[in-house]
Symmetry: C2
Subunit: 344 residues, 2 copies
Amino acid sequence: MPKRITIKDIAQHLGISKSTVSRALADRYDVNPATREAVLAMAEKLHYRPNVTAINFMSQNTKIIGVVVPEFLNSFFPRIIIEIQRFFEKHGYNVLITQSNESAEEERKNLQMMENAMVEGMIISVVHRNRNLDYYERLREEGMPLVFMNRTSDLPDTTQVVINENKMATAAVEHLLAADRRRILHLSGPSALKKTPERLGGYRQAFENYGVPVNPNFIVEGGLTRDSGYRAMRDFLASGLVPDAVFGFNDPVAIGAMMAIRRHGKYRIPQDIAMVGFSESRSALLVDPPLTSVEQPLGKLGYTAAKLLLEKIENPDAPAMTVVLDAKLNIRESSDESADSFPE
Amino acid sequence: MPKRITIKDIAQHLGISKSTVSRALADRYDVNPATREAVLAMAEKLHYRPNVTAINFMSQNTKIIGVVVPEFLNSFFPRIIIEIQRFFEKHGYNVLITQSNESAEEERKNLQMMENAMVEGMIISVVHRNRNLDYYERLREEGMPLVFMNRTSDLPDTTQVVINENKMATAAVEHLLAADRRRILHLSGPSALKKTPERLGGYRQAFENYGVPVNPNFIVEGGLTRDSGYRAMRDFLASGLVPDAVFGFNDPVAIGAMMAIRRHGKYRIPQDIAMVGFSESRSALLVDPPLTSVEQPLGKLGYTAAKLLLEKIENPDAPAMTVVLDAKLNIRESSDESADSFPE
DNA sequence: ACCGTTCCCGGAACCGTTCCCGGAAAAATA
DNA sequence: TATTTTTCCGGGAACGGTTCCGGGAACGGT
């Protein structure tokens, strides 16, 4: 309610012009040190705070970055977002975050909202079954800097940062092969997802590296959730086949499979069946036994995406580039009895 | 890079003044229907988009709401935030989200950032061991609308929305008492937290309601994390006391305790020891057996906080109020063998 | 004393939009 | 037809800051 102090108020109090005040506050060279001191003192005294809307308007930019992720209920995207925020805060930007709830329509609405808010650039992780290519294309044509992250679009020639899924899947499966497991069940992802063939490819690659043939009966679709993993594992066990290891498409699927195995009752984890998940979640440490999983460098992912976007904003004509990050396999009790993830 | 279309461009194309264009776009009464049509058509044709920075500057507001939460790695706050966003999006506001990483200093920095961004109001959930009361007080004195949510401040006379912790803790413990459990261990929270005595009070209340005396040996500090819960339970079992139920301060603590019990080896869950957590997390469904827990109405919490804030923005002189929400006890296999949380 | 620099400051335009106000043209009324 | 009312539109100020430009004063060197 108290009227906001402007640059003009300072000028009037000191009997000088507002341009001088502006220069003094901006610490420009052509202002008398004495008057600068006076201005700064008066600004302090009156509790002057610059009006960012005026500055944004004047400079014709908003200092807002948009981030669109498919969801943030799992800790996956929040971990990334934290680093994005940290980066842009340092550079004077605000970060607008939206989640699309895995819906292409909501994603489109979010993009629209970002556009209305006149964000200066966007970091996007697309929803499954994405249908907004036309929108991305238009945005790009209109000069909006875009960086895709983790879940990329099919748009050609974009700047993006991704994780080497294929390689990490190979490492995960090789970890099982190294322990002389051969009957390794892969609970694969939905066929519509781009990551599904990448991780499956890693699975095959590992077998090839070990000179072991792949048994196609040991590749079944496990979906994305705990429940779908539970069902797939239950049905697989019911079919009579017995695995000595399971490589889940992600952690929830692997955890669902663990529950199915425990309910089935005959097999112990990891002695009879070793379990490996993917894309490390907090729950990997909450289940019993703790789940071996591939931990992605989420902080680095966010940082890299932010850095790429800032570069694009500052130099719109820079060529598109793809950054590929490596991940890390965390070995725990679900696949190695000798590991110990318990405190003390 | 293509020059942005302004209201003036539309005016020039039509040979009319920009004030008329402005009125036409705002759908005001004093404009000829024919010219309005022409303006709208031309705006469409030129792909006109209003410059929000100019509008914000002109109207002297930013249409930005600030949300400060202590963390968002657990799904707890994200669930709340989703509803806040949904609400404010409908009302033409953008939502700026920051997380304080449970640090009072980071919280202060976030508040500062919000102030610089000139948010029109804030929804705040404070960090543990909060030291920023002076900041909240100053913000409020300067007319900033504030709503505290879930984790409130000690500032008197504030608008806030909270959950009836005490009552829900009573319900959780009564659920155990009703199943004839009497040796109920409470793994309590850190004594510095405001919620700790509330949940402990609920525990005592339940015993009182059942006319059963409380055994003080069955109240031990369990901390906040999986690891602290694990240690507390392990040490308790080592002491020789045997509980027939455990009421954890939150889900991670209860899950850590479950792991300690399983490692100990002698007792089955729930037959020998029933487990109950608090403040439902996704992991409650991921552990085996699924964990009974108190599910807080997070969506409603967010919606209510948003609604209260908007009311405060639109009517700054409205009196402060406290809204208390009830929660729901989800009974699962960890405390009731007959429950079934598995699919199909 | 004169000229050229340097230092410092004020005036004014500008960014895109809204809003107030006055007035012309058209329509309604006398 | 004259007068009043209504309808519609344009001019210009305002929002708060930045920046360009021009110029007065002080100062230096001859």
